[in-house]
């Protein structure tokens, strides 16, 4: 057991730290400011060009084939420099890598990883959230194309996406989990309409609704086999639940640092419960960092966590929400009197963490059923 950097890890850390000192774009937090999203692509490209993105992914597609623990180092350095977190799209990479054929991988992975092509994930629908397999969007074969009709919602980054990782029903005659298929659908076509949704904290670039009205996708853009869609989706959501994949702890650490600075500047003006709330957010953020270290180390054995991702998702959620609670505590009355108050936005955004990627209740169902054997 050793938490210290190996020789290679130390060299990587130093190299990244030096680069970051020159190249930190100093963006506001993704959770509170549309400005982040306007410049996220730039940040993605900069990281990629400098060789700091896709660390654990295949070289063939633009990655570096490093052990996943290098992502922890990257996240730690990002947090240390209060730089923006790395774009989180590892779960899409995992979905493609695991399920798509070589032609698809060669076509799509390089653009996804380099940031040249941007993606959104079209799973949820107005009537299919937790019960995702109830989704009704259809894909019907017409020649060598599929025709898509349906309504997706909560689709993150749909406003800027070139491609949609779409889950649709291709066979209505079989059991609901078995009739689903995944596709890479080009977003830039007239039969797709994108309607942004304004989030609880006022930002407008987090997610939107996407209407498919006879949209077309080449049959060759199928991701996996016909009827494999549920398994593809489960690969994606299980990785979407892993903080090591997402790198969110860098965002939490950055917020905690800002809150600490604010309190430390005038310790006497904050009540003890506010101090405790900030210190607890720090404890949780450290817990999450160390938990990710443990998880990624376990992966060195090639252990695939399966339902364990639900544990990680809950730890990540509790961490983000403790940071949100600390933020609103530090803000005090200005959370309500100041219409631009950032802490309030942080707090409000944190409430979404127990919904996105599968709600906390669903994670607990999975843990009780598949880990504790209580179902």
């Amino acid at each position: 057991m050793d938490y210290r950097d190996s020789h290679e890890e130390r060299a990587f850390r130093a190299r990244f730290r030096a680069w970051l000192a020159e190249n930190n774009p100093g963006l506001p937090a993704s959770s509170t400011d549309d400005a982040y999203w306007q410049r996220q692509a730039e940040w993605h490209t900069a990281l990629y060009r400098a060789g700091f993105f896709g660390l654990s992914w295949p070289k063939r597609y633009g990655g570096h084939e490093l052990p996943t623990v290098f992502d922890v180092i990257l996240d730690e350095e990002v947090a240390r420099a209060s730089a923006p977190p790395r774009p989180s799209l590892g779960y899409l990479v995992q979905g493609l890598t695991r399920h798509a054929n070589d032609i698809i991988k060669d076509r799509f992975l390089p653009g996804l990883i380099s940031g040249q092509e941007r993606w959104c994930q079209g799973f949820s629908e107005p009537d299919a959230g937790s019960d995702l397999a109830a989704l009704r969007t259809t894909a019907i074969l017409d020649g060598d194309e599929y025709v898509i009709d349906g309504h997706k919602i909560w689709t993150s980054y749909s406003d800027v996406a070139d491609w949609c990782f779409l889950l649709a029903r291709t066979d209505a005659t079989v059991a609901k989990h078995k009739g689903l298929t995944a596709f890479a659908v080009p977003m830039n076509q007239a039969a797709i309409e994108q309607r942004p949704l304004k989030m609880i904290n006022g930002i407008t670039t987090e997610f939107g609704q996407v209407m498919f009205d006879g949209a077309r996708v080449p049959a060759a853009n199928m991701l996996g086999d016909p009827g494999e869609g549920w398994r593809v989706a489960m690969t994606i959501v299980s990785h979407e639940r892993e903080p090591g994949e997402l790198g969110y702890q860098a965002r939490y650490a950055k917020t905690v640092k800002e809150l600490e600075k604010k309190v430390a500047a005038a310790p006497e003006s904050f009540r003890n419960d506010v101090r405790e709330s900030v210190a607890w957010a720090y404890v949780q953020t450290e817990m999450l960092r160390l938990h990710v270290c443990r998880r990624l180390s376990e992966r060195l054995d090639g252990v695939d966590h399966g339902p364990g991702g639900s544990i990680d998702k809950l730890l990540m959620t509790w961490t983000e929400q403790s940071v949100g609670a600390a933020a609103v505590a530090v803000a005090g009355s200005s959370a309500i009197t100041d219409s631009e108050n950032v802490e309030l936005k942080t707090y409000l955004y944190s409430r979404a963490q127990s919904v996105m990627g599968g709600t906390s209740q669903i994670q607990k169902n999975i843990i009780a059923g598949r880990i504790l054997g209580m179902a």
Binding site: M1, D2, V283, M287, S297, L372
Partner: protein, 346 residues
């Protein structure tokens, strides 16, 4: 970075769990089985676990805090009622003073239980403040720090007749009350205990009490999951109710988070500077003590009425967790210390 057990650590974990499963406490009735208890104590001694922090020859301990934490976790998992933590910490302190302890000795704590007990006096005679000998089962003596006005040295209290007094409320580890004014025997040749020594001892104590808490969490969750799968109401197992499932799922997640912080804290004791090790330990203790409280309360709840009886093993876990939480300072104490550290003193 590779946070996995080394092969030796994995083997120690396996054998410690095996031993604890064979000789630990599985029911409240087991606590009266003195023969079992004696075999457990003998097995711990024979395994050499009490010596893990003895001098390896160059002043450093024989084994790192990680190995000690592995054993602490395994013993707590089976609410083992034989001394480990107290004697181990006493030996760690003795090593720092350049001493060997000829008889079974545990550590005395101050009245808040958040650090070693103290005495005042000289190099030849001293008397204790009110202190508590923790984990005193089988111990003949308890160590205290003697403040001679010019540095701290070690002294020892003979427990002898005190062994018959109040043994405290953790049913697995005896806590003896030692009244103010009890004679303390200064230990000849005791080197000075520096403030860095005390910081390291506190980091070690916090890390090991976290390991103890985590082992207990896993134990009490296992007991509870097993119970709710058996217990039937409305014609079905109560574990099929989502409300019950969610309580235990949360407990399981809290245990996993606790494990992640506690492993790091144990590693930090010997690998990091004392002050950094203490921060790691404070983080772990804050998290683990809070989690342990919630998990044990969940365990009582999902047992229903039986969970509120002396009969049910759950309170054995809960009581042990309350003591481990307090030792070297509970979650509130650690959180306040972290806040002062990071936010400036109030």
């Amino acid at each position: 970075m590779d946070t996995r057990d080394t092969p030796e650590q994995a083997e120690l974990r396996r054998s410690a769990r095996q031993l604890a499963a064979n000789l630990g406490v599985r029911s409240v009735g087991d606590l009266d089985d003195l023969d079992r208890r004696a075999r457990l104590a003998a097995a711990i001694t024979d395994a050499g676990w009490l010596e893990l922090r003895d001098d390896s020859g160059d002043g450093s301990p024989l084994a790192s805090a990680v190995e000690a934490a592995i054993v602490a976790d395994a013993l707590a998992n089976a609410v083992a009622d034989a001394a480990f933590l107290g004697p181990l910490l006493a030996k760690d302190l003795a090593r720092r003073a350049g001493l060997e302890l000829p008889v079974a000795t545990t550590l005395a704590f101050n009245p808040r239980l958040d650090g070693p007990g103290t005495a005042t006096g000289s190099a030849t005679s001293a008397t204790a403040e009110a202190v508590y000998a923790v984990d005193a089962r089988g111990a003949a003596e308890a160590l205290v720090l003697i403040d001679e006005g010019k540095g701290l040295h070690l002294g020892s209290i003979t427990l002898g007749s005190l062994a018959e007094t109040d043994r405290g409320n953790d049913l697995t580890r005896a806590v003896l009350t030692i009244p103010t004014g009890t004679a303390v025997r200064p230990l000849a040749g005791s080197g000075e205990i520096s403030s860095a020594d005390l910081v390291q001892l506190q980091a070690l104590g916090l890390a090991l009490t976290c390991a103890d808490l985590v082992g207990g969490m896993r134990g009490v969750i296992d007991v509870s999951v097993e119970y709710v799968k058996e217990r039937r109401q409305y014609g079905v197992a109560v574990g099929s109710f989502q409300a019950v499932q969610h309580l235990l799922a949360e407990a399981h997640v809290l245990m996993e988070g606790s494990l992640s912080v506690s492993l790091h804290a144990a590693w930090a004791v010997d690998a990091l500077e004392p002050s950094a090790a203490l921060v790691a330990a404070r983080i772990a203790k804050t998290y683990c003590a809070r989690a342990a409280r919630t998990i044990n309360e969940t365990a009582v709840q999902v047992h229903g009425g039986i969970g509120n009886t002396w009969e049910c093993i759950v309170h054995v876990y809960l009581r042990r967790a309350l003591l481990s939480s307090l030792l070297f300072g509970d979650d509130a104490a650690q959180l306040n210390a972290l806040a002062d550290d990071r936010l400036g003193v109030h």
